[in-house]
Symmetry: C2
Subunit: 196 residues, 2 copies
């Protein structure tokens, strides 16, 4: 609805969103006011409201960008066949891809704490995603492909804890293929770092 509105030349909704997400990640969503954003952008608050209705709409657009990416991967994986452990690996690989491609959005998503309607809804979708992961681990365990000495719920948390921890240090470099990162994550998570 607001996507086609035009404000001051130099910003469209997309470029405004990128600046807002960067600021939210630096100062926290709660700690960032529309006033702060207006100063950062060098445009008036009313110019911002040409593009988005509210700060919360910016948050919704941002976390949906992350969640839509993750659920696109999950849908594709769930529609596929093969052993659960291989689907799990595809899910991990695809999630690393989303994280790399949409790093600021995923970073913001992972810091959401649930104080507003948008945040609570994002947390609910994250829990839904976590359930998909746990179900896959449980299925893989039932197929005998996951080590039996670790609880599936703990395993899925460790697995996505590992994936999500990338936001703390990974910074995209131009020309660097992101498959190397996904390979490293899958190598460690599925086969461990010990040489055998």
């Amino acid at each position: 609805m607001t996507g086609s509105r035009r404000g001051r030349p130099g910003y469209d909704q997309e470029s405004l969103l990128l600046v807002a997400v960067k600021l939210f990640n630096e100062r926290g969503y709660d700690g960032t006011s529309m006033e702060d954003l207006s100063r950062k952008l060098g445009i008036t608050k009313s110019a911002i409201y040409h593009h988005v209705r509210s700060k919360e709409e910016l948050l919704r657009l941002a976390v949906d960008r992350a969640l839509d990416g993750l659920f696109a991967v999950a849908d594709e994986v769930q529609a596929g066949d093969g052993r659960a452990i291989d689907r799990l690996e595809r899910l991990v690989r695809g999630s690393v891809g989303v994280l790399v491609d949409r790093l600021p959005f995923v970073t913001l998503l992972l810091r959401v704490r649930g104080n507003t309607k948008v945040e609570r809804s994002a947390l609910a979708r994250r829990r839904e995603f976590d359930r998909i992961v746990t179900d896959l681990v449980t299925e893989a365990a039932a197929e005998g492909d996951v080590r039996p000495d670790v609880d599936p719920a703990v395993t899925s948390r460790l697995l996505f804890g590992l994936v999500n921890s990338l936001i703390e240090w990974y910074r995209p470099r131009g020309g660097q293929p992101d498959t190397a990162l996904a390979d490293a994550v899958c190598a460690v998570a599925f086969d461990g770092l010990r040489r055998r």
Copy 2:
């Protein structure tokens, strides 16, 4: 120096610190004022200053609690002998133990961003710890015990990314032995979740 000072009955420096760290973790260090802390504690700001000189001193006490624990483990591991991969596993196991025992302190440490002197000094000590990890991974790789297809720097980041991600979901339960968690982390990190 301030440890022996006594303020209003009901709080000593230790119990005040615990409340402060909980509040910092909920609202962010920057987002928490001494006024907020005073309201939360139900004592005046001047009563707080009987125990600590400043908000930054609270932060220093808190992050040192985490860092001193981690460096005690690192010192013990570095003084030990045996193959580097085994020392690395002891370092991971010990770090999970510190995280479990000192969860609010480690959580605060991992969120520190470096805006004050105390924060910059904490970040410097974190980087020193990371170097110890990377050196151990490099040594283990030279001994042929770490898979050769992943870069040691990436491996150490993944390894401690996994450990640090525990703050996002791990909540201590009374009577639960924490060795189960350290076992699960080491099982996944060193041998992978795939059954062989």
